[in-house]
Symmetry: C2
Subunit: 333 residues, 2 copies
């Protein structure tokens, strides 16, 4: 679908497992308005598509932008996507399979809709409006429940055989190490994700080594989230700080491998853990990465913390739609 | 420098540490003639540049191609290069530093000269004329004295901050493992290069576990090269076969990491070791890589053995010059 010629506002959308977020941007990346909604993915995709539409309408309303001035929509989605056909092939977090999201929304809004992996969108957001503006080669590392990654290479999203790539969480850093959700052992995710950190922290709390954490969150992994970890460290739980630093150092080992392979200009660290404890992550990841990368690459890269926080995916989805649709209109491949 | 309009023959050049090889190709990749020379890098770069020129003239002679019909020259070089300026910044294998190779040869031949990392050239050769023809994303893995790598992504050479990237030999596969030449421990190169294999094989020979190898090559690492390893395995040295298979399996672990990160369509294995023992490497690398990659990627890639052997770098250098110069003429970036 071609973009309208005089329309120059763009919607970025983050379709998360629990909440959805729509934001309106001008073509020069000025923020104009936003709307949030619960995803309620369990109600199924038909209801979900309706909720997406109404969130977009609400954001346009907030921004005071008429539908006629909308040029396109970019949607960041977790899971396996068919980018060419605009289909959500399999999104386990949403419980959606084979949902023709692009066609459905193009019909409703009459503008081009572009879908994109949510992590790729986050890295593209940091590349276009955030911490790694216009760098030639950027790798994003987002430790959370898992550890996501993406690479923007010369302005394009680096893609693998199944579209998304940079499965940084599954670099094998500790042969024979702890079991990973993917079935392998010793993946980075198995030693340094929020889940792994929380499990170690829960043990420390149980052993009475973390008096503040036990008060703040107890020993239940579901309660030991990024904020609780940060609060207990700030209150003085040295054991927790050590656990987080060690995990961050493992991420540094993963980053060293990425540097040896891709030699990117910038590594952007983001996600809930990093947002809650930016200094610890920046420091420990950078230190280990420089120590463990090849000497030739030791100082070839910058390590920085994401700037856009929760908005990275929305921003990136909007910017990516803008780029994709504009190039399509020009006939660029 | 712009190419001549009616010239359509190209020279590919492999500037090796001990020998240099020039080959002439038509623009449809037909081989027309070649010439070989010793590099004699120790005589210095001035003499070296003269030897390069005379090898190119000899190859043109052999091919029966006049200088007027030469469109361009591509040169594969080991070491750190400034691609934009056409300078060999530092090539430790040659002992050359700051050599303005492009300007020198452009002056001599009056055609555009393009320089390229030799491993990148090898992978580009397999991509353009060899085992991975026109695949969207190809990673080459070349175990030798070290373990080189390169990636051709959507027809372009993937580049890092210092130009070349994909330092596959320095993926860390065994934390705290054997010391690597780079100063780190447990790099893939430290457990699976020709040098590491030879050291293990020499131990086996010394322990009388490899009766054929001890006869063929003794216990000196300098003599235990790919051919000797292959011959001893063919003669029945089971201990040596196990050592090679184990090293190949480690390379498979490295490949699994690459698959999780880049999800390429094709992995091409090449270099002296693989050429000498193609079945063992193909089998063991593929088996381990599929076993250790994420389930989603398990069958997403092909593992294949290089087709061009020693000619890969020359072929790739010629093809890359062809592509680069043709695009420059068209004004494509």
């Amino acid at each position: 679908m071609a973009a309208k010629s005089n329309a120059d506002y763009w919607v970025g959308f983050d379709l998360g497992a629990t909440k959805m977020l729509a934001m309106v941007y001008s073509s020069s990346f000025d923020f104009c308005g936003k709307a949030k909604k619960k995803t309620k993915a369990y109600e199924g995709s038909k209801s979900g598509l309706n909720r997406i539409s109404s969130a977009i309408f609400a954001a346009l309303d907030k921004a005071g932008i008429k539908r006629d001035n909308l040029a396109g929509i970019g949607i960041g989605i977790p899971g396996l996507l068919d980018l060419e056909k605009g289909i959500v092939v399999d999104a386990p977090n949403l419980g959606w399979k084979k949902v023709r999201i692009r066609d459905s929304l193009e019909k409703k809004f009459g503008v081009p809709v572009v879908i994109i992996n949510d992590v790729d969108a986050g890295v593209y957001g940091e590349y276009s409006m955030g911490a790694a503006k216009n760098a030639r080669s950027v790798v994003g590392v987002f430790p959370g429940t898992g550890i996501g990654g993406g690479c923007i290479y010369e302005g394009k999203i680096l893609r693998g055989k199944r579209n998304s790539c940079l499965e940084i969480g599954h670099i094998q850093v500790m042969p024979g190490g702890p079991l990973c959700g993917c079935g392998q052992r010793g993946c980075l995710e198995a030693v340094a994700s929020r889940l792994s950190i929380s499990a170690e922290a829960a043990k420390a709390a149980y052993r009475s080594d973390a008096p503040h954490l036990i008060e703040i969150a107890g020993t239940d992994l579901s309660n030991i989230r990024s904020g609780a970890l940060a609060a207990s460290i700030n209150a003085g739980d040295k054991a927790i700080e050590m656990i987080v630093r060690e995990a961050a150092a493992w991420i540094g080992v993963g980053v060293a491998n990425i540097v040896n392979l891709l030699a990117p200009d910038v590594i952007v660290l983001g996600g809930g853990l990093v947002e809650a404890m930016p200094d610890i992550f920046q420091e420990a990841v950078e230190h280990t990465a420089r120590q463990r990368a090849m000497a030739a690459f030791e100082n070839s890269f910058k390590v920085t913390v994401a700037k856009l926080g929760d908005d990275a995916t929305v921003a990136g989805a909007a910017a990516w739609a803008m780029k994709t649709v504009t190039e399509q209109n020009k006939g660029t491949p």
